[in-house]
């Protein structure tokens, strides 16, 4: 982290200010509020790793919090083990539990994942109550009041403040680390467009598990700390749905998926709620809860992206006017992959599909399609709308499993492999684009491409270099810092190619990358495809724009009604009466 960057030093200063404020104010109540703010902000940040970065709306995070509380307290009561050790033990246990809880739930979407997480929380709470021999049941456990550093119980308040600040710093550091690492990019990729992520070799399940484990670990440490701070735990309070909702709410109000959001959300809402309880509590029982609910509704209706999502960019720009701001350095692309590679195996088969059949229910979508792509070749796949071209593509890239038949790929070591999942296909050397473009819309062009580059490197700098290099190849260099959603159609299509290329594929499957482009974009794209081929990549492309297909392809394959109609040289194929009929209808071919 570069400390001279305004955004960085301002953030650090603000954090320090939060630590200094209660010390200056001196009031125990202010101490308490800040201890709560720090620890809840840590919880919200930890939750944000799953709920924000990974986009899995968990409302059962109190499970991990409770595991931390109980592990530390039980170890202390039964074995006299210091809560510092208990904290780590609890965190490890929470991580293990998180794997068992989350794995089966990952295929659930949105509200269903949320409901499942609530159900898990309820089950755990009821079991903890039921197993009172072990857990003390619902009577709860009182933490022995042995004072001292090793017991995490103090008469003064500042040690609690320091510990909670430490926990928050840890959570923030981890968030920042994730956000700026391969994992962070992968999480966003999986959250935004799982298909596109799979196509660049992301193992979605593993990535989500990593997030859940990290999140559970952090959440659990705060649970241990809270047990020592409140000195009393009971299942109803620690395994509580309200707590789970509350921490998620702090993150949401601040801004999901941002680093500072959860902290800002907590800092604004928590003290306000505490004070409101004092101010409004006398007015009428329940009034502050009412206000709380109404504020939450207003926030989601007016600034659903949270404070940071809504205002973050503007504030960030203001802060950047402070002294010390430097543009991020542009990385010089190394031109290693751009050079023409002379391959000894040029012209030999690299991708072989044999007798592919695919049924959807009763529909025979792919009927005995066999294809062979030779190294260095461009094959154009044409056929009318709905003929089943994309279905074939999906089988060639692992997104669909053929009902029968096989797809084999020759790796760079010369072996033939049959990958099983889209990610394995990607790793075996297949890059693909999607007919309907799948950009990670909120990321910049550079970051989009980097997600592809991360397949072969986990180094940030190297990924940036690859991005720069691929951008040059696809004429995106001057758009690198643009947000993907602002690109033109042509730009998006090129971005699709760039992302696939960043994985250094040896075979590229292009699904209608020219559709919807204006003539000048088309010319540009054709040139790019030629350039790509010249770097040694073999290409299979579905295309409707005939001029392009004709001029680019070495071979043309025509698919109609799910089967391979004809394959051969472009000129021959296009004059074939069968083809004309398939395209323009019987009547036309007779005309």
């Amino acid at each position: 982290m570069n400390i001279t960057q305004p955004q960085n030093y301002v953030s650090l200063l603000l954090l320090l200010l939060m630590l200094v404020f209660p010390v200056v104010a001196g009031s125990p109540f202010v101490y308490h509020i800040f201890i709560l703010v720090f620890s809840y902000a840590a919880l919200a940040s930890a939750w944000n790793v799953v709920g924000g970065f990974a986009g899995q709306l968990s409302l059962g995070h109190a499970v991990y919090y409770g595991v931390g509380s109980y592990t530390a307290t039980l170890l202390m009561i039964n074995f006299g083990i210091s809560p510092w050790i208990g904290m780590v033990a609890g965190a490890l246990l929470a991580s293990v539990i998180s794997v068992f809880v989350s794995w089966p739930c990952f295929r659930l979407r949105g509200p269903f994942f949320a409901l499942a997480s609530i159900a898990v929380l309820e089950v755990v709470r009821l079991l903890v109550i039921n197993q009172h021999g072990l857990t003390g049941g619902s009577a709860g456990l009182a933490v022995p009041l042995q004072q001292g550093v090793e017991w995490m119980v103090f008469r003064e308040r500042w040690p609690y403040l320091v510990i909670s600040f430490g926990l928050l710093s840890a959570a923030l550091f981890v968030s920042w680390k994730i956000k700026n690492s391969r994992l962070g990019y992968y999480l966003i990729a999986v959250r935004e467009r799982e298909d596109a992520a799979l196509a660049v070799g992301v193992n979605a399940v593993r990535v989500k598990l990593a997030a859940v484990i990290i999140s559970a670990f952090l959440t659990s440490t705060v649970g241990s700390f809270h047990a020592m701070y409140f000195t009393f735990i009971e299942p109803g309070a620690v395994f509580s749905l309200e707590l789970s909702i509350q921490i998620a709410m702090f993150a949401l109000i601040g801004g999901l998926g941002t680093i500072s959001g959860p902290v800002i959300g907590t800092v604004l809402v928590l003290p306000l709620a505490e004070l409101a309880r004092g101010w409004l509590g006398d007015f009428a029982d329940g009034f502050h809860g009412f206000v709380y609910g109404v504020v939450l509704v207003i926030v989601v209706l007016t600034i659903p992206r949270g404070l940071v999502g809504q205002f973050g960019a503007r504030v960030g720009a203001l802060i950047n006017r402070l002294p010390g701001y430097k543009e991020p350095e542009t990385v010089q692309p190394s031109t290693s992959t751009l050079t023409h590679v002379q391959s000894e195996t040029l012209g030999q088969p690299i991708l072989v599909a044999e007798h592919l059949h695919k049924y959807f229910g009763g529909v025979h979508a792919t009927n005995d399609v066999s294809l062979t792509l030779k190294e260095g070749e461009i094959i154009g796949v044409i056929g009318p709308n709905g003929a089943g071209k994309t279905t074939v593509f999906n089988q060639l890239s692992g997104f669909l499993k053929p009902t029968s038949g096989s797809v084999r790929i020759r790796t760079s070591y010369g072996e033939w492999v049959t990958p099983k999942s889209p990610a394995e296909f990607a790793k075996a050397g297949i890059g693909r684009t999607f007919q309907i473009v799948q950009p990670f819309a909120d990321l910049s062009v550079r970051e989009n491409i980097m997600i592809g580059a991360f397949m072969n490197t986990d180094d940030h700098v190297e990924a940036r270099a690859i991005a720069a290099e691929v951008a040059q190849l696809t004429d995106l260099t001057d758009q690198l810092d643009k947000v993907a959603r602002d690109l033109t159609v042509g730009g998006m299509k090129r971005l699709e190619m760039a992302r696939a290329l960043a994985t250094r594929p040896r075979i590229l499957l292009l699904d209608e990358v020219l559709a919807g482009l204006n003539p000048s974009d088309i010319t540009k794209a054709i040139e790019i495809i030629r350039r790509i081929r010249d770097t040694g990549v073999s290409i299979l492309m579905i295309e409707h724009i005939m001029q392009a297909t004709m001029s680019l392809s070495d071979h043309v394959a025509v698919i109609n009604s799910g089967s391979l109609l004809i394959e051969g040289e472009p000129e021959k194929v296009v004059k074939d009466p069968q083809v004309i009929e398939a395209y323009l209808g019987k009547e036309y071919s007779h005309a």
């Binding site: 709920g51 709306l57 409302l59 089966p104 739930c105 295929r107 659930l108 979407r109 949105g110 509200p111 269903f112 949320a114 409901l115 499942a116 609530i118 159900a119 898990v120 309820e122 089950v123 009821l126 079991l127 109550i129 039921n130 909702i245 998620a248 709410m249 949401l252 999901l256 009428a284 029982d285 329940g286 009034f287 502050h288 809860g289 009412f290 709380y292 609910g293 109404v294 504020v295 939450l296 509704v297 989601v300 209706l301 659903p304």
Partner: protein, 293 residues
């Protein structure tokens, strides 16, 4: 054997109560595709409404539930129009938080207006809905029996409405294929408002039917809402018959597990069933092919 039969009857009757609460939720869930966490608080409002009508006008809860149906319809419609509709294209978590916010606000509003006191409708002079019916040594609570019967009638009525009226067909069509419904000239926004209103309106009926059984207090909704979610997922999104069968299943599980396992572990049993259903058969037991994925 006799105990088993009594347990079964108790479970089925409890299922009737669960059903009347879940019908509205499955309508909203299935059509508007929103998980309404405020459903329990809607039930609370309906129960207070019935209580007040009984107190002020001496209406029997079974009479009071009819005006309550319309009042709750209006409340649901307002919630859809002003809170859910602006968020229809927003992500799931935003919608969930909106309904959580409404839930918190309503629960506390209940506390502000009525205090934490527990109120119950005075049924001492009522003839219908109280007492027991005995069949041999087995007994049935009349109020629960009434709830059971009305929930069947309600499902029948909704079924007829959804199948044989233009509006009902449009509601089903919108749930299945929103864009195509638009092309048929359906005002989708209006359909959502009606669907949400209907779902809330069902709770108006539930409020009246439950009055002889359960007292009302600000947090009464939390006693029922999670169970209702379980039932709706179990029965399959938006499926009325599924919700009814799911309610009966959960009722019977509640009753049997409470006897044969332990009263404090019965929730564990049906929460576990719920998780298993989500994981292994996300479309629900009776869902028509659409579910959690």
């Amino acid at each position: 054997m006799e105990i088993f039969l009594q347990l079964l009857i108790n479970g089925l009757m409890l299922g009737g109560t669960f059903a009347i609460i879940s019908i509205g939720l499955t309508l909203i869930f299935g059509i508007v595709r929103v998980v309404n966490f405020a459903h329990g608080e809607f039930l609370m409002i309906a129960m207070y409404g019935v209580y007040l009508m009984n107190l002020q006008f001496g209406l029997h809860p079974y009479v009071a539930m009819l005006p309550m149906f319309f009042l709750m319809f209006a409340l649901g419609a307002v919630m859809q129009r002003y809170i859910i509709q602006p968020l229809l294209s927003a992500s799931d978590e935003i919608q969930i938080f909106a309904t959580v916010g409404v839930s918190t606000a309503l629960m506390n509003a209940g506390l502000m207006v009525f205090g934490a006191d527990v109120y119950s409708v005075d049924m001492s002079s009522a003839v219908v809905g109280t007492g027991m019916t005995s069949i041999g040594s087995l007994t049935i609570n009349n109020g629960q029996l009434m709830t059971f019967i009305v929930s069947i009638l309600l499902i029948g009525a909704l079924d007829w409405f959804l199948k044989y009226t233009f509006l009902g067909r449009a509601i089903r069509a919108t749930a299945q294929h929103r864009d195509a419904a638009l092309l048929m000239g359906v005002d989708v926004k209006k359909i959502y408002i009606i669907a949400f209103g209907l779902g809330a309106g069902c709770l108006g009926l539930a409020g009246g039917l439950m009055a002889p059984q359960y007292p009302v207090f600000p947090t009464v909704g939390t006693f029922f809402v999670l169970t209702a979610f379980i039932i709706v997922v179990l029965g399959g999104l938006g499926s009325l018959h599924g919700a009814f069968l799911g309610a009966l299943i959960i009722g019977v599980v509640d009753s049997l597990a409470g006897y044969y396992i332990a009263p404090d572990l019965k929730e564990v049993v049906y929460f576990s069933i719920f998780i298993a259903i989500l994981i292994f058969r996300p479309t629900g037991l009776f869902g028509a092919g659409r579910g959690s994925e």
